[in-house]
Amino acid sequence: MLSFIKDIELPFKIPTPDKTIKIAITGLSRSGKTVFLTSLINQLIANDKLSYLNEKLGRTFIARLLPPDSVYVRFDYYSKIKAFRLKQPKWPKATRSVSKTTLQLEFKSEYRFLENQIINIELIDYPGEWLMDLSMLDLDFKEWSAQMLELAYEDKRKEFAKEWLDFLKGVDLYGECRDEYIDEHLHDMYSEYLKRLHYGGFSFVQPGRFLEPGDMKDDPLLLFCPLPAPVGVVHENSLYAAFERKYQQYIDEVVKRLYLEHFQSFDTQIILVDLLKTLENGYDIFEDMHLSFKHILKSFTYGSNNFLKRFFNPQIDKVIFAATKADHIAQSQHNQYKKLLEMLVWDLKKELDVRHIQTEVTLIAAVKSTYDVKAKVDGKVVDCVRGIVEGEKDFSTHFPGNLPKYTSDESFWKEANFHFTKFQPRSFPMRDNHATDHIRMDKLLYSILKDHV
């Protein structure tokens, strides 16, 4: 009836405020942050496989990457996508440093006399290991050490930590330190322990810089490790005192700086969860991942500590938990897959809910590298996935195992029996006008954008 209003032309355009959405893509190492970012940019620029998003928003938009600013290292989308467009595409290597990029979305205005709405999405990529340091911010050396040692003595970690703990017993920690190399030795043993944990699938591993030092390789600042608290007097030149100083310095100069620069005031936080890892490695790893997320979220949103409150005024209004790599299991399993993630984050979700932070649990595959087939295995028809295994050339079919119905932790983990194959990605379309195949990325993007458009 009033459609003519849409075509009214004014000599000037009424401006609409630009918006910048800061999205924190959070995820432990190997959870697929870099792939997710690359795919997200690719999807939004091409916008040919986002039918759900377009239908729900009902507005046309274009997406472009803004030129890099001079302050931060740029997230190199173009070289990443190049690697995906090779004939034998490869997954990106582990991220070693922080990089940033801004994706601008320009939405066509509904009325001619209005300016187009612009939404900038700031995206940050960083090594997932560093994320773990976040919860160290509100701990001093003594508290942190106690926490770490307690963990190390737990049954599931004990065997990994044995060497380091044994060595620790033979060292004079509180007297004057004469051995020049002892700190280096202790550090090496501790990081060796962390590395073993890491390869064993554990994710709660602190400090993350020990695993992925980035630009701090061989920095003497990192030469410390948790130590048992002293009973008597501590010598000024003792190992303990030195480690305590270094720890404090590490927190102040490395951890705080990182978070002040990159992790302030987010609107939306997407937490990528690699459930395949937990499914393959069992209950211990599942629990450990839960612990990690608990620590991460605590520091992100509801810091009880003044420092955190002051600097990260909790502006996050939405947290999306997304189970990644959903293409590695058959579509018929997705319901169960999502349920498993719900089980992993149930208490975090509740905690966020009472703080008026919207939460959502979903599953995605940023890059779909397989497709579903049905196959007969041992006389039974099962859903399988078919893709190219890393290092091979032809498609092959794999049965990853069926997710049991989640009734309780015990029954689930008793029945859980999986084997996930590492598939290589399928080649991306050569030009930006087509995006790669994905699972549910359009729904995720809609959840991110819906409150801002």
Partner: protein, 340 residues
């Protein structure tokens, strides 16, 4: 149950390469879900229904009487026809054959008509079971896909190309949806579009009734107008939901419509609303004819909404107060602005 070892599979074992996932499900353990407990709400509904039972019983009795009467008439006629035919065959065989051909084609046409009627009637009846199933499915996510398939097959060949297209789009989307997303998405993609169309029809007829009854001088004409407009409207709405009612089906539908109207809470609230919105001052100032027009318009709208409720495979979840308010506003506007 699933002791199949995960791992690589030979290509010969692949059976089909698609996403439909219903058959492959391994049998779940035989423990009965707690969900199997029948809801108490259903019981309550039944209690409420008993008040209308009396009327129903009376109607059924009279139907029996009518049916008997009809039966007597038909047997008589048939007997008449056969005896006429046999005497004709003896006296004038050519005319007799002609007579028989005509008789049989008449019977054929009648039979076909009755068959069609029955089909239409069953379609309406099917909506009942589907509505019940929809209620159950809401608490049992496992069955939601089969239910969605049923609805897809119902509307897949819809006359309206737009709706048919939406149904097909939904069918493609279905395997990618999680269980809990299926029903909301079904509403969003398929049903909301039908609702919109139906509501447009309601608005049209509510307006027509309001205007025409406002200018008609005699009460009996009002009644005829309301009846005829409502009749056409119910038919059109049913067509939107792919029911295409013929005589029997329409009877069943009308019965359903009035049943839903009898239970409608919204409409009672509406009466209050109409007073609120119009206000005593307005009603007293405009002519009594105009006020009657408004009331008739609302009545038509009520019938229309009940028709939607009767035809829709899933019960309407949203409250429809807003829709009524809009209709009311529109009617009053078209009535009174055209008068002055």
């Amino acid at each position: 149950m699933n002791r199949i070892k995960p791992g690589r599979i030979d290509d010969e074992n692949i059976i089909e390469e698609d996403n439909s996932d219903e058959k492959s499900k391994t049998l779940t353990p035989t423990r009965v879900d707690e969900e199997e407990v029948i809801e108490e709400i259903v019981q309550e509904e039944k209690k409420r229904l008993t008040s209308l039972r009396g009327i129903g019983a009376f109607a059924q009795k009279s139907m029996v009487v009518l049916g008997l009467l009809f039966g007597v008439m038909i047997t008589g006629t048939l007997y008449d026809a056969t005896s006429t035919a046999s005497s004709m065959m003896q006296n004038a065989p050519v005319v007799g054959v002609f007579y028989l051909v005509m008789l049989f084609s008449l019977l054929g046409i009648l039979g076909y008509g009755i068959f069609k009627e029955m089909l239409g009637y069953r379609k309406i009846k099917r909506i009942d079971t589907i509505q019940k199933e929809a209620q159950e499915v809401k608490t049992k996510p496992k069955r939601v896909r089969a239910f969605a398939q049923k609805i897809i097959s119902m509307y897949k060949d819809h006359e309206d190309e737009e709706i048919a297209q939406r149904v097909r789009a939904f069918e493609i989307e279905l395997p990618t949806l999680l269980d809990e997303e299926v029903l909301p998405r079904l509403e969003e993609v398929v049903l909301s579009n039908m609702d919109e169309k139906a509501k447009r029809i309601i608005t049209k007829y509510a307006n027509q009734t309001a205007l025409s009854t406002a200018i008609s001088p005699v009460a009996i004409i009002d009644a005829i107008l309301i009846l005829s407009r409502s009749h056409v409207m119910v038919k059109e709405i049913a067509t939107v939901y792919d029911l295409k009612p013929n005589f029997l089906a329409e009877m069943a539908l009308v019965k359903k419509v009035f049943m839903t109207m009898a239970f409608a809470g919204v409409t009672d609230i509406m009466l209050h609303h109409s007073h609120d919105i119009l206000g005593a001052s307005v009603l007293s100032k405009v002519s009594s004819h105009g006020a009657q027009g408004v009331a008739n318009g609302i009545l038509t709208a009520r019938i229309g909404l009940s028709t939607i409720k009767a035809c829709r495979p899933i019960a309407l979840t949203k409250k429809q107060d807003g829709f009524f308010k809009n209709i009311l506003k529109m009617i009053t506007k078209s009535l009174f602005s055209s008068k002055t």
